[in-house]
């Protein structure tokens, strides 16, 4: 089991290391080679640019159609001929979603879960990742294998027993039931482990010689060093939790604790779908993530850091 589980992260490590190795020569080339190829590139530029933007447009159409539809009044949604741009702009769908479906409550629940889980995940992943990177003993080596094993046992495979565990712990039907089990993520631990492996041991040794305690070293020196990873994991974790469906689905029963995803699913799963409300509600549910992304996009799109993660 351990060898099989080993796989994705092991490959991820390779990829990450490769990134570093190749980083140096990449910077050195540049001016010299660029000139030689410029002519050939200039020729290819128009069709390739057109192709790229055609593909981007294809990716944008579903989202654009969905966003523009959410501003149409209910009567216009189904009236042929359809038009891309709403003939009449309205916010009624959003207002209805917010007021009629108790959406404010779901929004609050989701925000609570996402923020609390993210804070806990980031903190404990940092602790664990640091311990796995900087202390090499039997315990940490064993736990590393354990973490690898979790990647082979997704929640989807243990739905029913997980439900029993949640129920026996008294966490059923509470937000804590979603938060606590989601704190441990293999990806988060690996990200921090990977980062702390690149921090030189000398730093640790000199801090020890200066008489700093082990935990003080971690909190005062190492944790502040890991800020970029901290932000990256925070955004990923926030996205996972905000968009999570399966945990809330099995843990929550009372509608007053529903998260957005469960609530949306109950609208879309209804016999007669209330499309104006559904479109408005879905668009509202996207806003926080879009906002977070716009502010912190460099931590996500920075490809070097994101090598090797996926939940």
């Amino acid at each position: 089991m351990a060898t099989a589980a080993n796989m994705p992260p092991a490959v991820a490590e390779e990829a990450a290391l490769g990134t570093e190795r190749a980083g140096a020569p990449q910077r050195k080339r540049g001016a010299k080679n660029q000139r030689g190829n410029r002519e050939a590139r200039a020729k290819a530029s128009v069709p390739l640019t057109a192709l790229t933007w055609l593909i981007a447009a294809i990716y944008a159409v579903p989202l654009l159609w969905f966003l523009l539809s959410s501003f149409k009044p209910g009567s216009e949604l189904f009236s042929y001929p359809l038009s891309m741009i709403p003939r009449e702009w309205t916010f009624q769908g959003f207002v209805d979603a917010w007021e009629r479906v108790d959406f404010a409550q779901y929004f609050l629940n989701t925000a609570t879960v996402s923020i609390v889980t993210t804070a806990l995940t980031v903190f404990f992943s940092a602790c664990t990742g640091y311990a796995l990177a900087k202390y090499n003993n039997k315990g940490t080596r064993l736990f590393f294998i354990c973490i690898l094993a979790t990647t082979m046992l997704p929640t989807e495979v243990i739905l029913n027993p997980t439900f029993s565990v949640i129920r026996d712990l008294g966490l059923y039907n509470s937000l804590a039931g979603i938060i606590v089990p989601s704190v441990l993520t293999a990806t988060g631990v690996f990200m921090f482990r990977q980062f702390f492996l690149t921090v030189p041991d000398d730093l640790l040794h000199s801090a020890r010689i200066d008489g700093a305690g082990e935990l003080a070293i971690f909190f005062r020196i190492m944790l502040p060093l890991s800020r970029p990873i901290l932000f990256t994991l925070a955004i990923f974790s926030f996205q996972w939790r905000w968009n999570d469906y399966i945990w809330p689905l099995i843990v929550l029963n009372d509608p007053k604790w529903y998260t957005l995803q469960v609530a949306l699913r109950s609208i879309v799963g209804a016999e007669n779908i209330d499309w104006p409300v559904l479109l408005g509600a879905s668009v509202i549910s996207l806003l926080p993530l879009v906002l977070v992304f716009l502010v912190f996009q460099k931590y996500v799109l920075n490809a070097d850091v994101s090598a090797g993660l996926k939940d």
Binding site: M7, P8, S69, A131, G139, C146, E214, A303, A307
Partner: protein, 314 residues
Amino acid sequence: MAQPTISTVAPPESPAPRPAAGKAALKRRNRYVIAPLVLIGVNVVLFLVFFVWPGALGLLYSFTDYRGIGKLHFIGFANFQKLFADAGFYAALGRTFTYTVLSVPLVYVCSLGVAALLVSKAVRGRTAAKMVIFLPWLISPIVVGVIWKWLFGQDFGFVNFVISTLGGHPLPWSSDGNLALAVVIFASAWGGTAFNMLLFIAALKNIPESLLEAAELDGANAWQRFRHVTLPGIAPTSFMVILLSTIHAMKEFAMIQALTGGGPGTQNTLIVQYIYKTGFEQSKVGYASAASMVLMVVLLAIALIQLRFNRKKG
């Protein structure tokens, strides 16, 4: 739970200016055993409670006819016997394989193709294009389902409107099983491109340009350069993307719940949905656990096969 542990262990460490021999030994022990233990403590507990416990419980359940309440009653391999004779189970498993086999290559080709375009210096406005194509990453599987259901609505969708405007016949996107699966596959490619694209962009940037130039000087055309230099260069990333996408596709649940609900009928019910339906809606916990065990074995087998394949090639 662990917060107090940290505070009880931390204080004795910081002050100890000139320790005696015994104290020094104790301190060394603190350093290399207790400190890491404190750091991993919470996650160890979480691992035991939320992975080991349910994992063991699931294995146990699969040999019982447990229905969610009462005592466990062991029935040996009866669940597995029944499972292997259950047409619904085979249908769900088969449909999951079909979905995986069709969607993983599509996701792979889309994300690699987009990544290749986005690292090419000949393309103008790469950053903006990257942002646009990355946006679906922000959207939850449920909302991805909603978006595509809206786009491909049989009587009201944009796609059928365009088809009929162009003079074609509107297609039965939700009442035909195969077309409904096609929509699910499109949606999964749309939603899955973003992240894999990032991985490929990172890998493609690491291919030394000198190799590509050498191939060009030797007279290799664009396709030959891609096939014989780029593709081998990104093999580890390709492998990772395929493995992760395969596992992701095998356990697809939320998106299809929103998009088709497994319909029409139960034609597109995938395996996780089947487990959820039997385990929660019909509360046949034992039976669903047996199905889960089969899924776990399949996932393990996929990982092992791909690992072996990768080793051989590498």
